[in-house]
Amino acid sequence: MTSITVIDEPENPLFRAPLVEGGKNFAEVTALVARPTESTTPRAWFLGLGVSIAIMLNLFAMIGYLVWTGVGVWGNNVPVGWGWPIVNFVFWIGIGHAGTLISAILCLFRQKWRTSINRASEAMTIFAVMAAGIFPAIHVGRIWVIYWVFPVPNQMAMWPNFKSPLLWDVFAVSTYFTVSALFWFVGLIPDLATFRDRAYAQGRDIAARIYGFFAFGWHGSNRHWINYEKAYLILAGLSTPLVLSVHSIVSFDFAVSLLPGWHTTIFPPYFVAGAIFSGFGMVLTLMIPARSWLGLHNLITLNHLDNIAKILLLTGTLVGYAYGMEFFIAWYGGVEYEQYAFTNRAFGPYWWAYWTMISCNVISPQLFWVRSFRRNPVVLFIVSIFVNIGMWFERFVITVTSLHRDFLPSSWGYFSPTIIDVLTYLGSFGLFFTMFLLFAKFLPVIAISEVKGVMPEANPHHGHHGDSHAEGHA
């Protein structure tokens, strides 16, 4: 195995920085990714899991209390019929967009750097969509008749109204969850086979049987790889418009209504840009600690973090443009209700939420014009937290400020969350982190076979011309 020279010149177009650093060979990459599963579990993991499960149980308790008592336990009131549950839904579903973006869109664009972060991001997507799905479900009020949203016969002898964007959302989110989970599982199969074979070789019989069951008897046959790679490419091709459609349809929940502040055509692209922004923010929040705790610095390199920071800069600036354009159209459109809605948004009773959103989403990513900030994990982590906060506030601002002062001043109101709102939202993080910690312990957090495929040695014609980067065979 030839070793790889570390070239730290991402700006130089003549050199492509290696995706795997530290001169690793195939076996070392396998061992590195398998290590958290095979070595003794650190005490911090148990602590983290315990705390996460406790918070998750609190979520279940809150849902139980809600179902038992009714939606009056929340702060939702008459002008503000959509409170935190919808804010939380859009927050989580937005986070769930980065995984599919990385796995599908970057796959089609042949961005090979995706290989070391796609697995964990896809897992993050699935867990975020799980957390998201809870909120509209419990928001319907009578959750025991939630099946009325599906086109199945029911006691009303009626079918769902397919002209409602809320129903489009049901189809979009359930399709997105299914396709993301399939994409993730297909990608996992060769790596589950790796874990099966390692467990077998190390005599861990039960682990070998469990991994082996889910690996489906994979043995890397080229006849299998041909169909496998075709399926993967098709899934990437399908997921690319899917990921764009999901948040567009989420934005229709708002934009198709006639409410000033919601009824704008910029919503679909603006929501998609925001979703990608929030998703990459959460990718950084998870991956920066994970790469250091799991010792994956050579696989998730500073170049990867640098690329993510550039995407944050781009999408953060895009949402900044959307915020500005909303104000411009409100002024230019000449509709006084629209103009009032936006003046009220920035300078009304919720001014603090609006300016928190602007500071976190538009101002904080501007740091990433500076290369040394893009390559500093501490700065990246802090900004990623700001992004998470800012994107939650974006949804709060859109939902609550548009609703709280409607057309009739006598029905104006103010929304304040209850402790149940807060604990339910907190609880969704418990679910998310419980799932992620289990994933990080028991499954390959890096797509092993894909990372090997982008290493220079993977090219069967490697070494003929002394090329130092994997650019496919001629």
Partner: protein, 179 residues
């Protein structure tokens, strides 16, 4: 060793993508047809060396997608305009623009399900038992070793000659596997 009927094939081990690629070319050049490689990741271009055809999965997926579009349109038209017409805010019970989002989602859903389950069907997976798992170092096929198999169904297959041939092109741990 049992009779020829039980022999599944001969498997040899190689230690790099370049070696397995050269071995695949040499084996098919020598006239073998039932040749397959077993590798930790797809070796690009090796399907030409092995003379494996392209995947036909795409055709199944197109079928899945058309089924999704048709099912979505029929469902929304029949449910909202025929079986129980719903008139909301003066809109037609069935109007095609409002059906686009769900039609798109069901097209994607059925295409994706076809892609995944079609891939499993074409690959005949899950199949937890396979003769190749009897090879002594096959557990490294998902790590850093590259294997070439010549199956007994190959007309040119001969248990000793094929094994010698695979050794002659650099194969290590050449083993005869039974089914």
């Amino acid at each position: 060793m049992s009779s020829e009927a039980n022999v599944w094939g001969v498997v040899a081990e190689f230690d790099s993508p370049a070696a397995i690629y050269a071995a695949a070319e040499a084996t098919t050049d020598a006239g073998y047809v039932q040749v397959d490689s077993h590798t930790p990741f797809p070796i690009h271009g090796i399907e030409k060396a092995l003379r494996h055809g392209p995947s036909h999965l795409g055709w199944f997926v197109i079928g899945g997608g058309i089924t999704g579009i048709t099912a979505a349109q029929l469902m929304m038209w029949w449910m909202n305009a025929v079986d129980y017409p719903i008139y909301v805010s003066g809109k037609l019970p069935y109007a095609w623009p409002a059906t686009i989002p769900i039609t798109f989602e069901l097209m994607v859903l059925l295409s994706a399900l076809t892609a995944v389950f079609g891939m499993f069907a074409l690959n005949k997976l899950p199949r937890h038992y396979h003769p190749i798992f009897k090879h002594s170092s096959i557990h490294r096929v998902t790590d850093d070793r590259f294997f070439l198999s010549v199956e007994a169904t190959d007309p040119k297959f001969d248990r000793s000659a094929t094994a010698k041939f695979l050794e002659s092109i650099g194969g290590k741990n050449v083993e005869l596997l039974e089914d």
